[in-house]
Symmetry: D2
């Protein structure tokens, strides 16, 4: 099913070099083909899930390679039965992986600090890229990656904001576009994670920025989407530390509340939390002049209710994977389709720019205690 | 606030006799008066609640007397502060209570076996009557009471089916009447009680007939109401005993399921249970040719939800009082209003006749294992 | 049932004067009595409802008088059958009403601008007072009224924050106190009204202060209650005008979002809206270190669901009366009980002080665009 | 990706014959292989969906062939881009398809009348089979197919009751097995379809048996599963015709209600309907001695709620595909896994025997108006 490629085969390397040259010259793209050869970089929790998604939910994707900088992850991949059966080559070097023969696209699923550089490198090799959010916590890197993508309009370079691919969010969006709530002007959105007592989260947090950059970024993206890309006017945020005192070192909190006021009389307000007891609780309400649409206001793991001595109970998804597993499959399918059919990507990389700008303004407000203001041209101003 | 009546005052008795004579001649009714003097017979759990309802929720009712055959209940009433402050005379003899000076109406809230005779006696004394369901488990008594009521059209004699006074059932009924579901043809309704482990229920059950007569009677009443009084064609019921083996003696069950097919292509099916773990779970669904209306399909004690490690939980009303407290207040108010304003009662006594006929057919089916059939004139037939 | 008092009877006036003197000397209170003679001032929508509540839901209250400055309301009261039958005297002069013979308590239900002065006048005449929220939009008046109440510890003077009497809020509070969510640290609460297109609201708004004073005041009260009276640190608010441009004149908005950060790592955030399409939508979520409790997150008018071609629909209460009717009855009963039984009132007047302070800080933030800060002693500071 | 097989290639036919012989001798099964070559017979609505499921959700399945007796369906398959790209050969002859080179398994998704014969033929050719429910409406055919399967214990022959693969039903079942509701004794289950006004359903109904065989069969299966395979004692059913009068010809109804009483004090009761306005409404409640578990009692298409002038509305899945799409994928994956890993199938064919026996008893009760009874050995008896 997959190429016989191996990182140690000289002849393969040779072929690969030729291919890289072709791709670098912009001649590689082959829309209308049957299958897309794709690699996943990053074999953490999500990277592994992305491989599974590609194998099990994206019939026209062919996972040909994976890559990790962590030796135990490479080892794991090389001995995993699925990876063997489906001929997935495991690399320990990203540049080497990019030269995998026949490779057409890369799914960047590493930690945030290398998202931008890996995206740029892949684009420079002529590969299509699906990059997980956020592109970077550094606005210069964000800009550089967006520029790289723009310089290769023949390549599909897509930002991975999974909620835009969720069936409920899409249904809500279609209802709003169809006028079901009149003109939308207010959005409440929250990203609340189950308390992680394993220590995994604290280690993770060090590399992924403030709570507003890591969590609220999704809610900001939804606000921009549902409110039709308004320009931010004022940003204010507060927070508190309840379970992860270690976050104080990085000026972060484990619960944060924020308001973003936009020009044009539109408002968004957000909650982000790392410390929920009941599960992953991501919900959104969009209010318009003639109605309101709610997404997942009552989170439910499934449609089972248990009636017992103390009442009636339903369960909640433990984490975002259970909530958004289908959305990730849709995201992957649509990325693959955009390449194979040469269609625009659903979420161009530049979409992440304003999202990150607002997320960083909230992080700044949290640190300084002040309101962060922008003029109508998007320039930050002092009051 | 109340008359100075006392069961031992000779002069009061004398007055009372005169009044009784007047009432017996049909000359007593005084519509358009300000207040209704009413007595409650039966001081069990519900009788006490009815007194409270009249005091606290029915401004134009004046509770002047109560009566119980149980000495400890009479004693309790005579020492209860509310009963003293509001001048409520407690009798141990029903006939004596009926002669209470100025008495105009009686709320019969005793055990089922004396409902009919007490209703008849009160009517014969010229008193208005609100009689709790069921009128009787004996069809001859049912007929006799209905006849008594018909013989005194000047009196308001009302059957107490509390659900007809519940705001949700009324809203559903209005929606159905307004055509929201097209033509209704199917009803599912259940009366499920919290398991009572105190022994109260088993003692109670001995005097209140089969589960289909005691519980399902409400659901049958709803079926007749929502389906527009169709004539029954076939009745079938099964049951099981899970927690109250003592019921086997009286051929009863603690969980029963029943189907009633009506002429005209209408169907009702029912569940009655005494053994719920989570609370009082009474729900109804009415299906029509163009929609369905649900009442209380998810029972909720209030609007609180607790999110915790195992999910999200809401509580359920423990018993019918919490579910139908407001309905009892509405029932009492409308009965009082029908007397004071000389308006028809919302639920004439004869309404209970067909309900009881079907309930008894289900009890018979449960005993015999056979289908009970009726011809279109309502006569029971063998297959 | 009630005294024969009439505002024009000289003898009555005379008696009344004597009584007023006795009351002014602090000798009037008569706990343990059977009934409380109470008057309602203000016969607007809520005043009339309070009279009905007292008549129909508070058995130990005797409404003896009402008062309105609007001639048509006085006229209405004098010709209303209930008011006549229950001997309720209608006054057009508040001072005269306070002298009604036998009067013991007053329910102040006028517009906000006279709440404080009417409360003070009643207290000075030795009457118990239940005063609707807010006490005043002027902090000096608030202070004066609280002082007046404190000077008469023999009188019951209560603040009317109806949500504290709502069964769901109380159940949630008891759960929180019992430790169901660990230590509460975060509250989200909203007061959202159905859009009023009749013009009633705009007229009303002129006399009732900013949206944060009129609506959010309830949510602030809940925040202080559930979070155990924390001291405010920073207040920030934004708003928008969607349906009532007339509000711009008074620097008000019809949708406002606010954050209140408290000392001790606690946070509250609020939404207030006048422009909902679906009904009165008041909900609250309290998050603690080990769980979350929700109140009314899905508002439901009753327990009916209609299944139809476009899905399944339930209705929402149109306004706060349908949502809080029972709470008002509980509030009235507990006020009456606190007087008759000489028990502390559930909500002393001073409880409203901090609520109003925060509400006004939010209104100020809305006007200035700045964060309003307090030091730990509650003094407002500039950044 | 797939073999180059074509129905007209002689050499392929030859190979195929050899393979068929090998398989017929029981020597074909090759567990532990990487991929399963599977064919789908029947290209109606569900057959096409099964192909898509295998392509998009079952990574170790390789769809090599499809078959239909309808020329336009074969034509459609031959010109469908997915079928071409994935090398799926379309046959118009079932026997020919069974000889497709390398074929290992067949998914039987034709109309009910040929399920049994096609299953038997495939088994006789040494192929693994997944057969849609019901196996047959004829008990003799059911028995014959089960016998065929038993004669080839080396083959995986599985009954396709999709609900057993649904995540919510499985979660509920695990809760029940873990004792969450004590001992289950009562089940209410319904299969209610959206009214089909296209005429599709009426055409379909002619070949798929009574409503109790076509719809309730799922609910019966659930009853047997959750109640631990009790023996039926009495079966009773009624029905009505509301929208599809054509069904009268075949003694069928479009709404049916049924009770099945089991030995051991267990009860199941069912509703089946073809005429729902709001969508596909399949729900189940299992009551035990210490609790109740509900599955999908409030059907929801997704987690979106629209708040509007008339209330709050959520949508419902239009048909079983939207409700059970994931279940079909799980079913397919588990069937493929059982073959590749040589594990027992989740649902052996014989599981369908008792289900069909009860379904037919209900259909008989509907026709005759009588109770159908079984003795404890499962023999039908007259009363």
């Amino acid at each position: 099913m997959a190429q016989q490629g191996s990182p140690i085969s000289p002849s393969t390397q040779f072929t690969s070099n030729l291919e890289t040259q072709k791709r670098a010259m912009g001649s590689y793209a082959e829309p209308q083909s049957k299958m897309l050869n794709i690699a996943v970089v990053g074999l953490g929790r999500m990277g592994k899930r992305h491989v599974s998604t590609l194998l099990a939910r994206v019939p026209r994707a062919r996972v040909v390679a994976v890559c990790s900088a962590a030796p135990h992850e490479v080892e794991w991949a090389r001995s995993n039965r699925d990876y063997i059966d489906f001929n997935i080559t495991a690399y320990d070097n990203y540049t080497a992986m990019l030269d995998h023969p026949g490779l057409q696209a890369v799914w960047v699923s590493t930690s945030t600090d290398v998202h931008a550089s890996q995206t740029i490198e892949a684009v420079e090799k002529g590969l299509h890229v699906l990059c997980e959010k956020p592109l970077s916590t550094n606005m210069d890197e964000v800009t550089a990656a967006i520029q790289a993508a723009k310089s290769r309009p023949d390549l599909k370079v897509m930002a991975g904001f999974s909620r835009r691919f969720d069936a409920s969010y899409r249904d809500a969006y279609q209802k709003v576009k169809a006028g079901a709530i009149g003109t939308p002007y207010l959005i409440r959105s929250q990203t609340c994670d189950l308390l992680d007592e394993t220590g995994f989260f604290v280690a993770y947090a060090k590399r992924n920025g403030s709570i507003f950059v890591d969590c609220t970024i999704h809610d900001i993206d939804l606000a921009l989407w549902f409110l039709d890309n308004p320009a931010p006017k004022t940003c204010f945020a507060v927070g508190t530390l309840k379970h992860h005192p270690e976050l104080a070192e990085s000026n972060d909190v484990d619960n944060g509340v924020a308001i973003v006021e936009f020009y044009g009389g539109k408002i968004a307000y957000f909650l982000a939390s790392r410390t929920q007891s009941h599960g992953h609780d991501v919900s959104t309400e969009v209010t318009g002049t003639e109605g309101k649409v709610q997404i997942n206001v009552i989170p439910r793991a499934n449609n089972v209710v248990l009636a017992h001595r103390s009442g009636m109970t339903h369960e909640v998804q433990p984490e975002y994977w259970q909530r958004f597993e289908d959305a990730f499959a849709t995201e992957a399918r649509e990325f693959v389709e955009s390449v194979l059919e040469d269609k625009p990507v659903p979420l161009p990389l530049e979409g992440g720019f304003m999202v990150m700008k607002i997320a960083r303004a909230l992080a700044e407000s949290l640190s300084t205690g002040k309101v962060v203001r922008f003029d109508e041209q998007g320039k930050q101003v002092d009051l």
